[in-house]
Amino acid sequence: MSSPLLHATVCCYAFECSSFLTNPITYGYMDGFDSAVQCVTVLYWVCDPQMIARGKNASDLFPAVVKNVACKNIEVKKLVYVYLVRYAEEQQDLALLSISTFQRGLKDPNQLIRASALRVLSSIRVTIIVPIMMLAIKEAASDMSPYVRKTAAHAIPKLYSLDPEQKDCLIEVIEKLLADKTTLVAGSVVMAFEEVCPERIDLIHKNYRKLCNLLIDVEEWGQVVIINMLTRYARTQFLNPNMNEDKEEKEKKKTEATAIVKRKPYVMDPDHRLLLRNTKPLLQSRNAAVVMAVAQLYFHLAPKAEVGVIAKALVRLMRSHSEVQYVVLQNVATMSIKRRGMFEPYLKSFYIRSTDPTQIKVLKLEVLTNLANETNISTILREFQTYIKSNDKDFVAATIQAIGRCATNIGEVRDTCLNGLVQLLSNRDELVVAESVVVIKKLLQMQPEQHSDIIKHMAKLTDNIQVPMARASILWLIGEYCEHVPKIAPDVLRKMAKTFTNEEDIVKLQIINLAAKLYLTNSKQTKLLTQYVLNLAKYDQNYDIRDRARFIRQLIVPTDKSGALSKYAKKLFLALKPAPVLESPFKDRDHFQLGSLSHLLNAKAGGYQVLPDWPEAAPDPSVRNVEVKESVRAVETVTARDRGPLGPSSGEDVKKSEKKSKPRIGSSESESEEDDDSESESSESEEEESEEESEEETKKKKKVGNERLENTRTTDIHTHTHSERRNTHILNCDSQPNTIASVQVFDTICKPAWLYMQFLLNPPLPVSVPQTIIPSGNLKTYELLHRITGEGLSVEYCFSRQPFSPDPHMVAVKIQFTNSATSEAKSLHVEDAKLQSGMRIKEFPEIEVLPAGETISVVMGIDFSCSLMFFVSIQPPVGELMMPIFMTENEFKKEQGEHRNQCMEIKQYGPHFDCHAVVQRVTTAANLSRVPCGSDKECRFAGKTVTSGSLVLVSVVTKEDGAAQLTVNCEKMVIGTMLVKDIHQALTQ
């Protein structure tokens, strides 16, 4: 394909016989060409914009090419897409031919095909298909696949630019996608938001916290967009964290004597804090744009004391490509004016190398000047001295300006700088001298009295120096301070009068000025000279100069006609002029959002969103609260008794044996355990809690009454919790190296150890109907325990809508057990119902045996105290997940040595332990067998997990002081941790 010959041939073919294209591709692309490669190459040349540049418009081929849209070859297909997008605008009617193909693609079962169909469809700029696009985007926005939803977000700005009338509809879609909880979508939808409706800040409220939390896992380009948007958002919603300090400054300026004004102590909104905290790690991104985005966020939003963190990251960026350096330096220059202290420690990183490009040198110089203060000025000036010797004269000129600025800002070094600059006046390079003259002029204006010798020195320069700006500056200086150099000034005027006609305009004007000023102060000596100069000027070619001469003559030379103004001539010309302030060009540039294009250009670019000022009073923070359902929860434990052959029926062993007979549950559990194995121990307990919580929610949710409405809500919750799970995993990737595998698998949900079921109950009003239980087909049934999860035992329940006879205040709940397993289930009963306060339960009588394949119904009463929600859970203690094995002491020690690294939990206990009690308690808590040992002080237990057969070793060592130490070794970290918890509880009871 890289052969130019092939290119050329194919190219000729393509343009000389366009039928060539039609032909092969209609009947499979192979016919006319030898291969797809050639076909592809033709297409590329057709699509190549360079063809257009050569005057070859390939749009004639449109029909021929578009027919290939249905082609199977992916590369051909892609190229047709490229071509289509490129030429569709010109050939609108023909482009419509291809639309049906994409519409088909939108329904494809493969998410990648759906996404790419949408991507191309939305890129075709043909107004007729706007409704089709709108529909496709809407559908894709609720697609199952986050990747397709992301593509939908990308399509929004495309449609918007094609037809802005669709804005309202698009905003709806954006609103919907903003609520999406996947990192994949977040960046793209915020981008769409910024393009379509950046003013609708209200759409962000509900999603603010989520966006903050997702931020670190969003892809880097999306991060930039989100951070910039959140900066603007924060500016409208939170209070200025530097409010008090800023006020103080202002107050100081206004009235220093004013009594302390009442200040509200500033408390940062937790959401504001959240944003700052979650963006900080991104300073370590490899992407310079992300780092810059965070830096500007901190600069605009963080309390003064915290802004410092960004300096290090910005300085690091300076090592990057010179373009990056250029942009970063521009921003640093602006920041360093307001927050000088931040960059002071990095002063040396801004030192200039002779190999830097000039534009970088000048910017670095700017930063160095901004950073100069009393303490570091001597080092900076020494550095400047080196720069002045540089070959790069533009840079030298900039350095001289910088010295001038340092001198005006820092009084202590003014004389030093002035002396240095005066020395430069004898430099051989004229540009350097001229620049120095200009800067010295500005400096002298500050305190002319002490520097008449410098003025004298400069007066001498007029003989040599040719640069007009410098000559003009010298003349202005002499005129302004002619009283300090009374003898020299007239002489300079004399010389200037001689050369007047040859001077540049700017110099001529200053000569006239000088003449006028001398005439007013020393008319005796200069009267004739002035007349002469004015006469020369009267006939000058430049009308500015002629005008000036006429004006000045009227003003200073008293004649009969001269008006009242001439009396004030002296005041006009010799008024005290304020010294110029040498300011950084970067001053006040921070009213543009830093890092933006507008900031860089110091001009508002199209589409720039102004960074709003902080509000005076914070808007209601509760708008960001996301609704949490309020409900009273009840936890009830239902235990299904053992159905297996071993089934002991004593109450104590129920849980244990139940576990044994549930191999399938066990296996799914071990999977999830593996996932969790690598979780760091410290985060274990937290993890579990959050897991339990989401588990609860993820479990089947049920409700009665209000059916339609409730139904939709429940499904909503479902999808959300799913995506939430994903998120937690993605977020936790940092701490759990192995979660990647588990992310695709949602089976953690089915972890039986925390088998919680939650159902929303909407208690129906008691209706008086006969008290018998009639199974009614009309009643809606809900699932409590699914057949698969319950190992063949399924439990369903329904509200029988009949009064519960034993207690009229209870709601009758009919529970139906179905045993679809092969063995019988025994002793089904309710155990340890843990109820929330106010709730009561009337258990159903124990069902002794439920033979295989049978179904049985029972009724129990629950007083819900009119609340709507409670939980059911079957929770086997971890100790029941294992079976005892026999081991000798030596074996135990050996195994323990081997498993040392896998899990070791040690807890200390207070005194009063005797061996017997320990054995009893441990064996009650966990199904382990004791390992015989010689010592009384040590008890060892061994077992293995039922499903995966991994060893579980427990040892309790009693110490001299009566305290005890518990050690659990188990390669399943979750089991290990849980077991430690349980045994610990058992021992401390």
Binding site: V82, L112, M191, T355, L597
Partner: protein, 424 residues
């Protein structure tokens, strides 16, 4: 009505002679005449690297980067963070380099089809879509000589037949289904020292810029952890997105699922506060006498604080003042070259032998009658030190989880001179 469209509109590639040799539009076509503003700026700039990266024109903004003597000029229409565009353009160059080995005009022209395919995938409507090299390689296979031959004969293509599932996974940076017969993971710790040394030989500023570049060819989904002997050195770092940040914060261990192939795992910065050791010293005596047409030039190099490792590939370059007409110098080793037009002196020293220090001595002839140059030249030094990282950073161990096989592991250290200047 054309509404302001954000992000990148078009891309033009301009070579050093000022020809546009490739263009790509992601939205409607922008006439290439927009580049005239760029050429104007190029003319104004004295050096190629002095072209401003951002140029405003009446209707567009041009943001450009210069790499490998090619300007990549992006056209945008409205507000967008300039770094966003610059970073993206550099990513494009990196991708080309990754695909074609070099990023030259010839390479781009030879692979024009792949270039277009890549650009098409990297941006959607001007917004970056797939910039991760592993995903792109799943979508578009990089050309190899063998594949080019095979493709020409059999008619197969570069476009991957499989759909890129990587985009959907939670590890978007790693392609799926990686298989190798030899599983290997190599890490290069490369440090560059930037320094300015003043006339008297004292250090004005010195800092170390380090990177860890990895070449990981491992089957499946390996999960690696890399720990350091002295992680404390790394207080200013930036990571590849694969690195788990929380783990680093908590334990100072790099834990990551690596992308397949070459990538930059980490870059770090050790700043001047930490007293960077300078591995080389220069004794110099460069003088011009007033009124004489001769100048003296003497230079001696020697090693200093190199921890016993030798200095290699030493190269001295210096821009002599304009007044110097020619030089007559004697190197004790290596070769030297003086270009009388650009006034650039370069001396290829090679290895430094501590027993016999290399020197370059002789005279310079100046323009007759011209006054003495007021600037002494700055000396730029390049060197390499093998098997040593100047900051002292040491990798402790590399562990792999998640896969059964035993990979071959390797680590290499190197120190280079970055922007190392001696003022005279």
């Amino acid at each position: 009505m054309q509404l302001p469209a954000k992000m990148i509109h078009s891309l033009f590639l301009v070579n050093s002679s000022g020809d546009i040799f490739l263009e790509k539009h992601w939205k409607s076509v922008v006439s290439r005449s927009v580049c005239d503003y760029f050429f104007e700026a190029q003319e104004r700039a004295s050096e190629p690297e002095n072209v401003p990266p951002v140029i405003p024109t009446p209707h567009h903004y041009l943001i450009s980067v210069l790499r490998h003597r090619i300007y990549f000029v992006a056209v945008i229409q409205s507000e967008v963070p300039p770094l966003f565009v610059i970073e993206f353009l550099h990513r494009v160059v990196d991708t080309f380099q990754d695909y074609f080995g070099v990023c030259t005009e010839a390479a781009i022209k030879d692979n024009v089809v792949v270039v277009y395919e890549l650009l098409e995938e990297m941006l959607d409507n001007g917004f970056p879509l797939a910039t991760e090299s592993n995903i792109l390689k799943e979508l578009i296979k990089p050309p190899t000589i063998l594949r080019t031959v095979v493709n020409t004969i059999t008619g197969s293509t570069n476009v991957g037949e499989q759909l890129p599932t990587g985009q959907l996974s939670v590890v978007p940076w790693r392609r799926t289904g990686v298989k190798y017969t030899n599983n290997e993971a190599y890490f290069d710790v490369v440090e560059e020292i930037d320094a300015i040394i003043d006339k008297s030989g004292s250090t004005i500023t010195a800092e170390i810029q380090g990177v860890i570049d990895a070449c990981v060819k491992l089957t499946g989904m390996p999960d690696l952890t890399l720990s350091f002997m002295n992680p404390r050195l790394l207080d200013d770092v930036s990571f590849h997105p694969c690195v788990r940040f929380k783990r680093w914060e908590a334990e100072r261990i790099l834990s990551f699922i690596p992308p397949d192939g070459n990538f930059r795992l980490l870059s770090y910065h050790v700043s001047c506060q930490n007293l960077v050791a300078i591995p080389v010293y220069v004794k110099h005596n460069i003088t011009f006498r007033e009124g004489s047409s001769q100048g003296r030039f003497e230079l001696t190099l020697g090693p200093k604080q190199t921890m016993g490792k030798g200095l290699e590939a030493v190269l001295i370059s210096s821009q002599l003042p304009r007044g110097v007409l020619n030089t007559n110098l004697n190197p004790s080793q290596g070769t030297y070259n003086f270009d009388p037009v650009t006034k650039l002196l370069s001396w290829d020293v090679g290895k430094i032998n501590p027993q016999k220090l290399p020197s370059l001595k002789g005279s310079m002839s100046l323009q007759a009658g011209a006054s003495k140059p007021d600037e002494n030249p700055t000396i730029n030094i390049q060197f390499k030190i093998q098997q040593s990282a100047l900051s002292g950073l040491k990798v402790n161990r590399l562990d792999m989880y998640g896969e059964k096989y035993k990979p071959f592991k390797g680590i290499k250290y190197m120190t280079k001179a970055g922007k190392f200047q001696v003022r005279t």
